[in-house]
């Protein structure tokens, strides 16, 4: 495949990226606004000789992913907020068994069954583990359809490299929107060798995949091993985009779809000579620390989210009291527009 540009939705781009990254097992259960992803997989993964299963429930789907991953597959599932809540038990088990997997959450309004409008209110759930136990998932938040396609491929590599579940965190806008995507020539045919996988033990010692450590001291030892891995990921996998930090007096902080809207507000304000910057975290866990290490105490940060202030906590931790951190957010189907952001920035400039 040469360089081909196609118009495709975020949901489809994630599915296409997964197939090119060698995903050979997908199980999922339909839910708006991510149905195009599962539909694309149903049609195209089977053609790519992968296994597609529309499971009987979200719980079944994540458990199938656990099994496939244990057997060495590049396994994936996807859902939207209420469905991701149902998968939390399985995600905790994946983390506890050190199994790689890619989990996609195209967020919608919550809590409960909520609505189908775009939202970013699952940030806490995604970045704080979500299920029980001391674990993390690596969380990547694409801001465009192209990035959704690219990061999905990266997430399979990261999942295998660090042996943990990786979450792609998008929202209804990203999933539903179509944009031009330049397809890469990448096509993984031979998956990376996984010496720990359950591939049949004739001629070698049996492998064991489990998340159950009953003997005294074993679980603590295992948890310390996980923590060492997480520390390594923190050091190596921070991803972000930073714009105009050098002279910025107010720095917008936003991720995913919200960052696009923040960026257009920023460009309008820059056009008027206002010194505004932007930090767009791409990895939400590990949360990027580097761009927040700024000496000028007069800078103000403005966190903009489709929630009532979740990433806000991570920005406060990263800023660590050096500068003021302000917040602007809407949720439950409300999506901030450029004008609302510009109005808030003007208030901050004059205060």
């Amino acid at each position: 495949m040469g360089k081909i540009k196609i118009l495709i939705s975020g949901n489809e781009a994630i599915a296409q990226g997964a197939i090119q990254a060698g995903c050979n097992f997908y199980a999922g259960y339909p839910i708006t606004p991510q149905n195009e992803l599962i539909a694309y997989m149903a049609k195209n993964l089977t053609q790519a000789k992968g296994v597609f299963i529309q499971a009987e429930s979200e719980l079944a789907a994540i458990s199938m992913v656990y099994g496939a991953s244990a057997a060495g597959a590049r396994a994936m599932t996807s859902s939207s907020s209420p469905g991701i809540s149902l998968k939390q038990e399985g995600i905790s088990y994946l983390a506890g068994a050190k199994l790689p997997a890619v989990i996609v959450n195209i967020m919608r309004g919550g809590p409960g069954l909520g609505n189908i409008a775009p939202a970013q209110s699952d940030y806490f759930q995604a970045t704080r583990g979500g299920g029980h136990g001391d674990y993390q998932t690596l969380v990547l938040a694409p801001g465009s359809v192209q990035e959704a396609y690219d990061l999905t491929q990266t997430s399979f590599d990261l999942a295998d490299k660090y042996r943990l579940p990786v979450m792609i965190l998008g929202d209804g806008i990203l999933g539903q929107m179509m944009e031009p995507v330049t397809l890469s020539a990448r096509k993984i045919k031979v998956l990376p060798l996984k010496s720990w996988a359950l591939t049949g033990c004739r001629g070698r010692k049996p492998n064991i995949v489990k998340s159950f450590f009953l003997r005294e001291g074993d679980l603590e030892k295992f948890n310390l091993e996980l923590q060492k891995n997480y520390a390594l990921i923190r050091r190596q996998e921070e991803r972000y985009e930073a714009l105009y930090l050098k002279d910025a007096k107010i720095i917008l902080v936003a991720y995913g779809s919200m960052a696009r809207i923040a960026k257009s507000a920023l460009m309008q304000l820059r056009g008027l000579g206002k010194k505004i910057g932007l930090i767009r975290p791409i990895s939400l866990w590990p949360f990027p620390q580097k761009p927040f290490q700024l000496k000028n105490k007069k800078i103000k940060f403005l966190v903009v989210e489709m929630s009532y202030g979740q990433m806000l906590d991570d920005v406060r931790l990263a800023v660590c009291g050096r500068q003021k951190v302000e917040f602007l957010g809407r949720s439950g189907g409300g999506v901030l527009n450029e004008e609302e952001i510009i109005k808030k920035v003007r208030e901050l400039v004059s205060s």
Binding site: K5, L7, T32, P33, I116, G172, I173, Q176, M177, M178, E179, P180, S257, R260, I261, A262, K263, S264, A265, M267, V335, N337, E338
Partner: protein, 175 residues
């Protein structure tokens, strides 16, 4: 250049497709483009819509609060979206079910797209007549690029579909 277009009509009139064809044409034109659908539960006889933003530079929100152009194929959609048109914006309207009065607040182009499509032999191409009308009104995208999209989207070997869409587009441009 940035142009924000809301396309709305009744479910089945092909408003989503109209938007997709337009968006793909914009891509071939080398523009930045986003297409954003209404993906909620829709009802028969109600409205369906999509939003297309075409720009020379990076596009922020694909959601359109105020549109530069409305392409409207039925009356309920006109009621729903007319307040979303910018002052002096362009309204392209299917007048098969009645003309709308001229207004100082907007530029109105209205033709009976559905009747024209019927005369061409397929009511389904009313959307492409409307698209043709947009292409000649705004000249953001070359018709040749839309024809290229038709070729890409039409089922292989089905020249009849290709031909009637081409005829519809050209009819729309002539209006």
């Amino acid at each position: 250049m940035i142009e924000r277009i809301i396309i709305a009509g009744s479910g089945g009139q092909g408003v989503m497709l109209l938007g997709k064809v337009l968006a793909q044409g914009a891509m071939l034109e080398g523009k930045q483009v986003t297409w954003f659908p209404a993906y909620g539960p829709e009802v028969r006889g109600g409205t369906s819509h999509c939003m297309v933003t075409i720009s020379d530079t990076e596009i922020g929100s694909p959601y359109i609060a105020k549109a530069d152009v409305l392409i409207i194929l039925n009356n309920p959609s006109l009621e729903k979206f007319k307040s979303r048109l910018k002052n002096k914006g362009l309204l392209i309207f299917d007048s098969s079910l009645g003309l709308i009065k001229p207004s100082k607040l907007m530029e109105i182009i209205q033709f009976p797209f559905t009747e024209i499509a019927l005369k061409l032999g397929n009511i389904k191409v009313a959307n492409m007549v409307a698209l043709g009308s947009y292409l000649s009104a705004r000249q953001v995208i070359k018709p040749a690029h839309i024809l290229e999209v038709f070729q890409f989207l039409a089922p292989a070997g089905n020249l009849k579909i290709l031909e009637i869409n081409r005829a519809a587009l050209e009819e729309g441009e002539r209006l």
